[in-house]
Symmetry: C2
Subunit: 164 residues, 2 copies
């Protein structure tokens, strides 16, 4: 499998942070960038992609910032991955089955997808389903028992100051 | 998911052809290239990768060529995909969890893999398992009922002439 866009890691971490904001609060892109040690321009590109995919939304204006567009349990890891990395299959089929000397040139003989392609895409579906079966709510739950006290506190303090 | 190397399609189709050779027969790389409408140098690179991964083997010499290294039921789609595309995970983690202002700088606090990474890699495992659950024998069986009569005959004739 080729590499996913490295924006996926940032997008997932940002979405997790936004899942922890208080009711009605937003966090500026600048704060999200600082919190993850990333340049603001790099991160804004990915935040915009998340907003386009309607996983997060931007509140505009000087008191503006980002928040989740719906409850964490309704945002899957697949939503986030596809927002950043697209929905293109990883497997590339160039219809090489049609190229052998003497092969039929009648397009009707190739109406059915090549069975190799079918099997490769079925495997990708397993990956997508595994991502679809996990939501931001699962990450929130993980974070509650897997992030150490010191780090939870550091992030909570940063967010308390930076949120609007 | 980013694109797999486009050599994966060629490698799978070549392996399927080799699975159909008679006992003790081999097929030259040149014939495999012609059969798939690919340049020989492009294909040889991928055949070499398959041989390095011990999915196929090369019989040297003027009467040489390629054959499977073991029975089709013992060569999984994952064997072929990893031979061409490597075993690197698709998800890239740059440990951005460690970068927040005020975060612990003690490496012991990060001994456990980030739970976001854990979940992303688990999804990739689902993809790999789906590829591991399918073998060349499945492709052979597909081919028997899914390749039309005209095309089966064309390929069989080509192979009968080209095999050694
Ligand atoms: S023709 Fe593309 S996978 Fe078979
Ligand atoms: S630090 Fe890399 S995925 Fe969390």
């Amino acid at each position: 499998m080729r590499r996913l866009s490295d924006g996926v890691e940032a997008a997932l971490h940002c979405a997790l942070v936004l899942a922890g904001l208080g009711e009605g609060r937003v966090l500026p892109g600048k704060a999200l960038a600082e919190l993850h040690g990333l340049s603001e321009s790099y991160l804004l590109k990915h935040l915009r992609a998340l907003a386009e995919a309607k996983a997060i939304e931007a509140a505009p204006g000087p008191r503006g910032g980002y928040r989740l567009a719906r409850p964490p349990a309704e945002i899957t890891l697949l939503d986030i991955v596809e927002a950043i990395d697209g929905r293109e299959p990883a497997f590339t089929c160039r219809e090489i089955r049609q190229r052998a000397p003497g092969k039929s040139t009648n397009p009707c003989d190739y109406k059915m997808e090549c069975f190799i392609k079918t099997r490769m895409l079925a495997a990708e579906t397993a990956w997508r389903e595994a991502l679809r079966a996990q939501t931001l709510a699962d990450l929130v739950a993980d974070g509650e028992h897997l992030i150490g006290e010191h780090n939870s506190k550091a992030v909570a303090e940063f967010i308390a100051k930076a949120q609007r």
